[in-house]
């Protein structure tokens, strides 16, 4: 029974979502504010929570800030953002703050559920090759799902880890944004290449020495991304 935290200030929306998710077998916790949610996740009750659905327009601390603090505290739980405005700028800001996906309100129950399921799937341990790969100081342990750079472990949220695993599984191969969307996000909508760009951007910020001149994850202009050659 997946355990989900709903962070939403509007009681009706919160109740509606809780109702739907409970009926479909989710354990649901709710928080009406960002501060409450952060306290909940940091406390003992927060250990069981596997995913957060985060509203952006919250009283006090807004969703962007909640997400940033969550990531800063080292939490790697998937975050699905709910944006009420649906403007491109809000979506991009949300993704860059560290969200794994976004959903524009109003959303139908099946779509929200599908997004939550996909995000949870991404967070499951990935097993491909039980090896340890080393690329110029970067060690990717596919069995232990850890990434260390020159001995320092990197804390990567599931989505970013999956992007890295996907790309590094075939070094030198170019992946289009659509390919990555399908394999990492299991998204069927072809237009959301911003998800990929935002995740790659965050990944680079942690991985690369100079994010503006990436070594590990390179952009193939007009097509997509490629791991290496390093």
């Amino acid at each position: 029974m997946p355990h989900v935290l709903l962070i939403e200030d509007d009681a009706s929306v919160r109740d509606g979502m809780e109702l739907v998710l409970r009926r479909h077998g989710y354990a649901v916790d709710t928080a009406a504010s960002g501060e409450h949610a952060l306290a909940l996740l940091a406390g003992p009750a927060g250990h069981g929570i596997e995913l957060a659905v985060l509203d952006l327009m919250l009283p006090g601390m807004d969703g962007f800030e909640v997400c940033r603090r969550l990531r800063a505290s080292g939490s790697a739980i998937p975050v699905v953002m709910l944006t009420a405005r649906g403007d491109d700028s809000d979506i991009v800001r949300g993704l860059e703050a560290g969200a794994d996906d976004y959903v524009v309100k109003p959303v139908t129950a099946p779509v929200l559920e599908a997004r939550i399921r996909a995000a949870l799937r991404r967070a499951e341990p990935v097993r491909r090759r039980p090896d340890e790969d080393t690329y110029a100081g970067l060690v990717i342990d596919r069995a232990g799902l850890t990434v260390t750079k020159r001995g320092t472990p990197l804390a990567l949220p599931p989505t970013e880890l999956r992007v890295l695993l996907e790309l590094s599984a075939s070094p030198g191969q170019v992946f289009s944004r659509e390919q990555l969307l399908r394999s990492v996000w299991e998204h069927d909508f072809l237009g959301d290449s911003r998800l990929v760009d935002a995740a790659v951007g965050r990944l680079r910020a942690k991985l690369e020495d100079v994010p503006a001149r990436p070594v590990y994850i390179q952009t193939v202009r007009g097509f997509g991304y490629r791991f290496g050659p390093v």
């Binding site: 509007d10 509606g16 959303v107 139908t108 072809l190 290449s193 193939v220 490629r226």
Partner: protein, 480 residues
């Protein structure tokens, strides 16, 4: 000179200068012409009078001593003594066939036949101005009569040079001619000054008007100080501009308020809609276990909630276009793949006959292309008749996406309004699915790409929507 310079010279300034110079020339020439004529006449008349009276006096005086009939010697002496009192005049005396002259070398042809005849026939003093070898002469002739006697047959002529008088009047002409050039120059300068005072405000007015036309409603003419017609015009212009600016600002403010209102309303609707959309799913799922009436009510609420959600989405999208917040998010995609995704996502793959050649990689905003094409295909599926076809063609600089159906086509009066917001072709269909914003949104998305959408009826029946976009060609897979 530049083109603009030539144009300036063909303009008001040139016309003013030419008019000024012409007026100055005409008045100067007329005035000097009249003055010249008058002074010349006066000089000549005085000379004539003087010569005439002197001549008459000398002839009367000398003739008294002449014995008639004269011989050649006495005639010559007579001529010489008449000439003695007349300065540099040459005197010619004629008596029948005898001719004597005060100066033997004198040119007698200066005495014309007409003068001779006038003297003889009319028997009184006559005079004539003649020109010989470029020099003017005054020739005076008189018959010599003795107190109350018959004509003696003796005629005397005096030939006086008019060179001095001619020179005097010529000097007048010369000085007038010399004065003409400064007058014309002065007129030109005055004309330029006058043109400047007239043209500067006119030109400034023109500049302000052009800036207005270019959309700068704040442009004004520098505050005019005078009380002339041009100053009035400038003040009127400023007043008009101010009124215009105010009205436009009011209109813009109203428009912005209206847009904000739509955006705010849509946004405010989202939260309750989000709750309703969630709960509606529950109602829908449980409808099977409800009594028939309640089940129908539950399904209706669910369907209407979904429709309302779509309408609010469309309104939000439209308000983003209106406020200019809509931005292109360009990325390179395979058009065929994108459009296949559009059909698949909405479950239309089996209902639409798609001709999508692969390999058309273009740089577009995939989401917007998806929205535009989905609206057109959805329209065709709802209002047209199958088979609905979707075709992509790259021709030259443009990519064309064609959506066609085999329905009755659109009535001619509907065609120009297809892209109007909330336009319902058939009032009976007012409750049809869709917000009535679909085609308007599709068009806005096409425009954002620098493209357009046309609609036409096909000869064989059915409507064709053609989306054209400039083709920003992708690099292709070979670039990887």
């Amino acid at each position: 000179m530049t083109l603009g310079g030539w144009r300036a010279w063909g303009g008001l300034r040139a016309r003013l200068v030419v008019a000024f110079v012409l007026v100055a020339l005409v008045s100067a020439v007329t005035a000097t012409g009249l003055a010249y004529r008058e002074s010349r006449t006066a000089v000549l008349d005085r000379k004539q009078d003087a010569v005439r009276s002197d001549f008459r006096g000398r002839v009367e005086q000398v003739a008294a001593d002449l014995s008639m009939p004269p011989d050649e010697v006495s005639l010559t002496r007579f001529a010489v003594s008449v000439a003695e009192g007349l300065g540099d005049a040459v005197v010619v005396a004629e008596y029948r066939s005898l001719t004597a002259s005060s100066d033997a070398s004198a040119d007698r042809t200066r005495i014309s036949r007409s003068l001779r005849d006038a003297v003889r026939d009319r028997n009184r003093m006559s005079l004539q101005r003649v020109e010989r070898h470029g020099s003017p002469y005054l020739v005076v002739g008189t018959p010599v009569t003795f107190a109350s006697g018959p004509p003696s047959g003796l005629d005397v002529f005096a030939i006086t040079s008019l060179r001095a008088e001619e020179d005097d009047t010529a000097a007048i002409l010369d000085s007038v001619r010399d004065g003409l050039l400064p007058v014309v120059l002065l007129a030109a300068v005055l004309a330029l000054l006058a043109a400047r005072t007239v043209l500067r405000p006119v030109r400034e007015l023109g500049r302000a008007t052009r800036r207005h036309a270019a959309g700068d409603l704040t442009s004004r003419v520098a505050a005019p100080s005078g009380r002339d017609e041009l100053a009035d015009l400038a003040r009127d212009f400023n007043r008009t501009a101010e009124a215009l600016e105010k009205s436009v600002a009011e209109l813009r403010e109203q428009e912005a308020r209206a847009r904000r209102f739509v955006a705010d309303v849509s946004h405010e609707l989202r939260t309750p809609l989000a709750a309703m959309t969630m709960v509606a799913t529950v109602l829908d799922e449980d409808a099977g276990q409800l009594p028939p009436d309640a089940a129908r009510a539950a399904r209706t609420v669910s369907a209407e909630t979904a429709r309302l959600a779509r309408l609010v989405d469309d309104l939000m999208e439209m308000s983003r276009f209106d406020s200019g917040a809509a931005r292109l998010n360009l990325g390179e995609v395979d058009l065929a793949e994108t459009l296949r995704g559009t059909l698949a996502l909405r479950g239309w793959t089996s209902r639409v006959h798609a001709q999508l050649p692969s390999g058309l990689r273009a740089v577009v905003d995939a989401r917007r292309v998806d929205v535009a094409v989905a609206n057109l295909v959805g329209n065709a599926l709802r209002h047209g008749a199958p088979p609905v076809s979707l075709k992509v063609v790259a021709a030259g600089e443009r990519v064309t996406v064609e959506v066609a159906d085999r329905g009755p086509g659109l009535p001619p009066e509907v065609l120009p309004h297809v892209f109007d917001r909330f336009y319902k072709a058939d009032s009976a269909r007012a409750r049809s699915e869709g917000s009535g914003l679909g085609t308007a949104i599709a068009l806005e998305n096409a425009r954002l790409h620098g493209g357009s959408i046309d609609v036409a009826n096909r000869a064989g029946g059915g409507a064709v929507f053609t989306l054209r976009m400039p083709w920003r060609r992708g690099c292709g897979e070979g670039d990887a």
